[in-house]
């Protein structure tokens, strides 16, 4: 056999499937189907890790996802180093490399274990109380040191090379948990014809049948029945069976998140995703999540070799591994007896069963006695020896008396079973305390959900299967499925358990200073919880946070109930009076990869590119991110830096001309007989009298009177407007318009259509712009009289249907050529050849910004910030004076918006023309006043203007227009900068150049 502890004739793994793996550099052999934990135990490796805080040696506690101790790193290659992998979950594959964590220099000898000796200083709340002063030392010293000393695995330092998939799924019935109850529920639900998904976190469904060898269902051993049931389900068209899949979050309206581990168990995952996130919407949910065994809380109960009784049975009955050769059992209930019996029958010596109960009885007790096992009732284990592997247990009568030391090499404990109500609780269900069995169970269901089997407190197998089969059928029928379901599986034999106790065992009670661990993963002892109560924590939520009990990645699966019982005892209350803490997703840790899945790299967020993007790239544009858009920022020529490129572009546009990609502006086509009436309501300007073929600059307000957006609007026909919006405002302006149209002005006959992406827009600006476009334009007279400034015509450019605007955001003679997007690049190329002939350039957003600032044109969102009125921005002229209604008209009359002293947009000219102010910088009237100074405004836009030969800036300054000529100051680290308030127009003040 593979491994010293493998017992021939036991377990379900084939001896033929040999696999090699390594742990901390040593090579071992395992079998196909092994978990890393079972393979290590088979090789007699119990010491697998060091604890979080005290660096205590730790072994394997469980055989499932609840594992708090056996956390290891699994290293596939340099980039694939996964920390904190539960050895009880990780399946062994050929070549698997695992390492222990949180130890230095080695697992067996760990310097950090000195923490254990100083543990009196590290009690609950230690960090909160100790590292408070000096404050600065927290970030610089304490936190890094604590993080280095405490903690678990090391996060990988390279990008994750694996890929992760995602899937939305819809079903009638989702069954969570593939134990006997879950399978029974899935079978009847599927038989009704409903669409069923059943998921199970293990490699194969079967749940407790993995160790419960006493169960027989439909004439077969429980495990074999479970495999056949799974095969039947997998063969049905309406069923999807998901193994290695954990339901980790239960959200509103039966939306359940599942994480499927697709490749982690394979030596060569190939092109598979590593994991797959399932977001399942189920009409009905059946929870069959089982129960989790609790450990006994006694002194030094964390020594390697001490584990849950059911885990030892799993290792024996499923993996064929005995966890020791001379095994002790410590129980507060019956189920641990079964472990002793199974091991004894497999030839392992049982040193003794120590039972807290005075008079245990029942079939298991009798069977154990019959096998000659020494049962010590009414006794407790008050201590153990052996640091890295338990070597003996000290047993006393629970009422006190002489103690006795019994040699052992493993100790199996059980204090009962905790129903897994996590998902029920996440569904917003409120658990109810069942006093007779000392446990919390599901009560009312806020969602279309039901619990069956052990998670519902139904312990008897026959009763559980009956309950599950009925629930499955009911769930199927509730979704409208009508086929007949068969009866519940017949249970021929089962194991019956009783008993259990939450809280501390004798010897770890109120006056004991021993380390009796409640939460292994966070190193929380019974003493810590009592101390929390002593220090004033009353709510269990506070006790939890003060001690960190249940806050590790295992989410307190083994510790919550113990913690609650100890706190209740210390508070002198009943457990149900104290109440359980809230369970939150995820049930088990989920990788970021699974949550992020496809949304990485190029798929992290859409990158929007215009039709001319390739041309810009070819011409070495530097791009600027504007929302999701990539816009050319500037086009540096060889040897140019940004400043030089922008200066050249700015000068060229005003001297000759420039081509600018304006495609990203939002465009909305407003169509219908009431189009003008609608425009009147949505914009401050008058529109009724705008003639078809003419354009107008429009200002849009919110109802509060503040500027929301702006843009040039062309009237194509009496009933058709072509509206442009800011790039960033495209989506929200359309939403704002639709909102008013649908809900406030539904009587208007008008419709809105986004055409932002229908049209590629080439702005041609500058004195030569007409010459550049003229050779390509058909059907439109470009003469000044025929096409004056602020006009629009439909015709053809380069033979392509086009909307040609004569308009300008630069102050120069200018046109905007709109062509269907697929033709955008070809038209740009054609215009470019003509532009080059004329000595024009391509220019980017930076030059566009400078040119418009030279003309004092605002950019909404830069020179306005949601608190600026049209008058503040110098746009009062854009408000239709005779209008009786538009969105924002009442807001503008609010007292604050009409009060004196509002900030107004003005131009700023620095006294030293070479100084370019910082955008956002604050402005004061007197730089010598004491700090804090009175701010009177701030700089909104600031550039070097090559055309003006000086710096220019726009600013919002209190009463700005009344302060023309005044000098103000911009305090900066190197002294205050003096600037003079003036007009917002810096270039071509009379505005003659737009007329060509």
């Amino acid at each position: 056999m593979v491994g010293a502890n493998r017992i021939a004739g036991t377990g379900r793994l084939s001896a033929a499937g040999r696999l090699a793996f390594s742990f901390d550099g040593r090579s071992y052999q395992g079998l196909e189907g092994d978990t890393l934990a079972s393979a290590l135990l088979a090789n007699d490796v119990h010491l697998v890790g060091r604890s979080f805080k005290y660096h205590r040696p730790r072994g394997v506690l469980s055989a499932g996802t609840e594992e708090p101790n056996a956390l290891v790193g699994v290293h596939r290659d340099a980039a694939r180093r996964t920390p904190n992998v539960r050895a009880t979950v990780q399946e062994v594959y050929d070549g698997l490399t695992a390492v222990s964590q949180n130890r230095w220099p080695s697992l067996a000898f760990d310097i950090g274990a000195i923490n254990d000796l100083f543990s009196p200083f590290f009690s609950a709340g230690f960090y909160y109380k100790t590292f408070m002063w000096p404050k600065a030392a927290w970030a610089a010293f304490y936190e890094p040191k604590i993080r280095a000393a405490a903690g678990l695995g090391v996060a990988p330092d390279r990008p994750d090379p694996d890929r992760y998939a995602a899937r939305y799924a819809h079903c009638d019935v989702l069954v969570v948990g593939g134990g006997a109850a879950g399978l029974a529920a899935a079978l009847t639900a599927a038989e009704t014809g409903a669409r069923v998904i059943i998921c199970d976190e293990q490699a194969a469904p079967g749940g407790a049948m993995r160790f419960e060898t006493g169960a027989r269902i439909d004439g077969e051993e429980g495990w074999a029945w479970a495999q056949k049931a799974t095969a039947r389900l997998a063969g049905m068209d309406n069923v999807r069976v998901l193994t290695r899949t954990t339901a980790f979050g239960y959200y509103a309206q039966n939306f359940v998140a599942l994480a499927e581990r697709v490749g982690d168990h394979l030596a060569e995952p190939g092109d598979r995703p590593r994991e797959r996130l399932w977001q399942v919407r189920a009409r009905r949910v059946v929870l069959a999540t089982g129960a989790i065994e609790r450990h006994m809380v006694f002194a030094d109960n964390d020594r390697p070799g001490i584990m849950l009784a059911s885990a030892a049975r799993t290792y024996l009955n499923h993996y064929g591994v005995c966890v020791g050769r001379n095994v002790g059992v410590y129980a507060g209930n019956d189920s641990a007896y079964a472990a002793a019996i199974d091991l004894k029958r497999a030839g392992v010596a049982i040193a003794a069963i120590v039972d807290l109960r005075e008079t245990p009885k029942g079939a298991l007790y009798e069977e154990a006695r019959g096998l000659g096992i020494d049962v010590l009732p009414g006794r407790a284990v008050i201590g153990v020896d052996g640091r890295t592997r338990v070597s003996s247990m000290t047993v006393t009568p629970r009422t006190g008396g002489p103690s006795r030391r019994i040699a052992i090499d493993a100790l199996l404990t059980s204090s009962g079973w905790t129903p897994s109500v996590h998902l029920y609780s996440q569904s917003r269900g409120k658990v109810a305390f069942d006093a007779s069995t000392q446990r919390f169970l599901p009560d009312a269901y806020p969602q279309d959900c039901v619990s069956v089997g052990a998670c519902n407190g139904t312990d008897d197998l026959a009763a559980a299967l009956k309950e599950a089969a009925a629930a499955g059928e009911r769930a199927g029928r509730a979704t409208g499925a009508r086929a007949k379901a068969t009866k519940a599986p017949r249970v021929d034999a089962s194991e019956g358990w009783s008993g259990g106790m939450p809280g501390v065992a004798p010897g770890a009670g109120a006056d004991a200073a021993v380390k009796a661990f409640v939460d292994f993963q966070n190193d929380v002892t019974a003493k810590d919880i009592r101390q929390a109560v002593r220090e004033g924590m009353r709510s269990i939520e506070h006790v939890k946070r003060f001690t960190t009990n249940g806050m590790a990645t295992d989410q307190g699966k083994t510790s919550n109930l113990h913690g609650l019982a100890i706190a209740a005892d210390a508070l002198g209350k009943e457990m149900h009076e104290v109440g359980l803490t809230t369970f939150r997703p995820p049930y088990t840790p989920v990788t970021f990869g699974a949550l992020v899945n496809q949304a990485r790299g190029a798929l992290f967020d859409p990158t929007r590119k215009t039709a001319m993007h390739d041309w810009h790239e070819k011409h070495r544009a530097v791009f600027e991110d504007v929302g999701q858009w990539k816009r050319p920022w500037y086009y540096p020529r060889a040897g140019e830096d940004m400043h030089e490129a922008v200066n050249r572009e700015c000068a060229t546009v005003r001297q000759t001309a420039g081509l600018f990609d304006a495609s990203t502006l939002g465009k909305i086509e407003v169509v219908g007989p009431d189009a003008a009436a609608f425009m009147e309501l949505l914009y401050t300007n008058p529109w009724q009298k705008l003639e078809p073929g003419r354009c107008r600059y429009g200002v849009m307000l919110r109802e509060d009177g503040f500027v929301y957006d702006d843009g040039v609007v062309g009237r194509l026909a009496p009933d058709r407007f072509h509206v442009t919006t800011t790039t960033g405002g495209a989506a929200r302006v359309l939403n704002h318009m639709e909102d008013y149209l649908q809900t406030e002005f539904p009587h208007l006959k008008v419709w809105l259509t986004s055409v932002s992406e229908q049209w590629a827009v080439i702005a041609v600006q500058g004195p030569k712009s007409r010459d550049i476009i003229a050779p390509f334009v058909e059907g439109i007279d470009l003469a000044d009289a025929a096409l004056p400034h602020m006009s629009v015509r439909e015709g053809q450019v380069c033979g392509v249907p086009a909307r040609l605007f004569r308009m300008s955001f630069s102050g120069e003679l200018g046109f905007e050529v709109n062509v269907p997007a697929d033709y955008g690049e070809a038209v740009w190329e054609a215009l470019w050849t003509e532009a080059e002939k004329n000595g024009a350039c391509a220019y980017g957003t930076e030059t566009m910004h400078v040119l418009r600032a030279e003309k004092g044109f605002i950019i909404v969102g830069q020179d306005t910030d949601g608190t600026v009125t049209p008058d503040d921005a110098g746009l009062a002229w854009a408000i239709g004076k005779k209008k009786t209604d538009f969105v924002g008209i009442r807001g503008l009359r609010r007292p604050d918006l009409m009060a004196a002293g509002r900030k107004q947009l003005v131009g700023l000219r620095t006294r030293d023309p070479n100084i370019v102010l910082e955008e956002g910088a604050q402005i004061v009237a007197d730089p010598n006043q004491p700090v804090p100074m009175t701010m009177i405004g701030h700089v909104t836009s600031s550039y070097w203007s090559q055309n003006c030969g000086r710096s220019i800036a726009l600013a919002l300054i209190a009463d700005g227009r009344a302060r023309m000529g005044e000098t103000v100051y911009v305090p900066m680290p190197n002294g205050a900068i003096a600037a003079e308030i003036g007009q917002t127009v810096f270039f071509d003040e009379k505005g003659e150049r737009v007329h060509g």
Binding site: R163, Q598, W629, T753, V755, G799
Partner: protein, 188 residues
């Protein structure tokens, strides 16, 4: 004047996803050919008139589409007064709609949208990587259509057969949508 009349429009056209295609064992993801598209808006009272003008009965039932009796024209229901009309032959749809006397809005969006075709036994699974709707045949039968989301972008989804879907997406989101579906196709 440059000789604009003789320019070949076809040669000038740069299709967004030109040259891309993904073929996997169970699903293929390919860009659709250019088509004429019309954003049609009209009230209930105008539907007969508009239907006659366009030669396709615009559907009144949510999530349904209607094809013209002949030719490659289809009208997809997007909202109670909104349809997307697609003509694979590139017909002049605004002109056709112009024949309708009844009040409506017809806006050419031929270049706004790009089509992506997802076909094969795994088509439904491929889309389920990013579309939160139930795409089973019972919930989303052949001919069903809906505006919805795919990953982080909005799409119009139209099921053209049991094993094929037609995705319409805005031009600048097409690269993302295509890459998303191509990546999803690896897991089908």
């Amino acid at each position: 004047m440059a000789d604009v009349a003789n320019r070949d429009l076809k040669a000038m056209r740069r299709e967004k996803l030109a040259g891309l295609s993904t073929t996997r064992e169970r699903v293929s993801v390919t860009p659709g050919p250019p088509a004429a598209r019309l954003a049609l808006r009209a009230g209930e009272d105008a539907l007969n008139s508009v239907s006659r003008a366009l030669g396709v009965g615009v559907p009144r039932k949510p999530k349904t589409s209607a094809r013209a009796k002949s030719g490659g024209r289809v009208a997809l229901w997007l909202g109670p007064d909104e349809w997307l009309v697609i003509d694979e032959d590139g017909a002049d749809l605004p002109a056709a709609a112009g024949w309708a006397k009844a009040l409506h809005s017809a806006v050419d969006v031929s270049h706004r949208n790009v089509a992506i075709l997802v076909a094969g036994d795994g088509a439904e699974t491929c889309l389920a990587a990013g579309c939160p709707q139930d795409l089973s045949l019972a919930a989303f039968p052949v001919g069903a259509c809906s505006r919805t989301v795919l990953g982080k972008v909005e799409i119009v989804l139209w099921r053209t057969s049991e094993r094929a879907f037609h995705v319409e997406v805005w031009r600048s989101f097409a690269e993302y949508a295509y890459a998303f579906l191509a990546e999803a196709a690896r897991d089908v």
